[in-house]
Symmetry: C2
Amino acid sequence: MSVQTKTAHYPLTPVAQKFILHWGEMGTRWGINRTVAQVHALLFVSPRPLPADEIAETLAVARSNVSTSLRELQGWRIVRVVHVLGDRRDHFESIKDVWEIFRIVSEERKRREIDPTLRVLDECVQEVKTNPQGDPYTRERLTDMREFLNAMSGLFDEAIRMPAGALKGVLKLRGKVVTMLGKKAV
Amino acid sequence: MSVQTKTAHYPLTPVAQKFILHWGEMGTRWGINRTVAQVHALLFVSPRPLPADEIAETLAVARSNVSTSLRELQGWRIVRVVHVLGDRRDHFESIKDVWEIFRIVSEERKRREIDPTLRVLDECVQEVKTNPQGDPYTRERLTDMREFLNAMSGLFDEAIRMPAGALKGVLKLRGKVVTMLGKKAV
DNA sequence: CAGTCGTTTTGGTAATTTCTGAATGGAGAG
DNA sequence: CTCTCCATTCAGAAATTACCAAAACGACTG
């Protein structure tokens, strides 16, 4: 009863706690489970990989819930298992490079959400083209939307392939990017 | 009893229906109420502004629900009221320019979600700086995250200010944007 | 084999979100 | 003023989602 785990409890500093809670809230706004986001936040700030039971204790959620959350995070490829000598348990760590996290998550969401939407729009445009009984205005709207998403999608694919270094360069150009692109584009 | 409305029912074509349903699903994934997204989709493809009761009938949801959804969409500034001669009722129409929709929604989400996150991160970094008892590693992670979000935020602010025309130009450059930015950046 | 660990399933509850129907209020017509 | 039409608000119902504890299972280990 009293003895809980063999690992020392990971005490959250107030700052870490604040960050984790906020991250959890943000998660929910973006359609991500609160606990999943919290687990990620915890692993992100943790200086060492953590085993599932320690995560559960720290966040005060059920062990099984953590298991599911870790699974989900691994599905997004931003958390991975590592092993610690002398410990049989799996330990988990988050990717630490913020650009990398952003890149991977964006890619994944695009794949899961934008790409299917593009497929649906393609079907819609196709159907309305072969069977043009619907409103021509509607048809135009759907085509517009498809073109837009398609273009953004392509642009995104490019941008996302930039290495972290290049990004830092681009970010230094603040105030000039639009001008640059504008000139070339016109 | 039998007489329902004075407006003709707006019959959804299969294609419009498909789009609206999919848009609704996508909405839920992005933390947007399904009905809200559906109302928006309907208005987006509709060749004319629609009154609330017609929307309710078309989507088969309660009138009050539509009212709330329209309110929300107006809050996002992508739907507005217009009036039709000889009709007392408010009619609603969506912005039709896809880039404009994207721009406005992105701006709004940034304002509501990213900016507050930046504030929290600032506070965290501040606290951990004045009172450095926490893990230095955690501190570094938080600083990293703040820097990243801050930079992205700035870049975004710039990009989002591009007029629709410039965007189309940029989109034509596909395959060259990264190269361009890369050269200048290094 | 017995113990540890991780995952999955199950059955149930809690919390949150969404939706509705019944008010409420207001503006214009007569 | 009263009646009608319309929009909005709000309490609670309904639905969805999140969460938990317990159990079952398999893999692996000493």
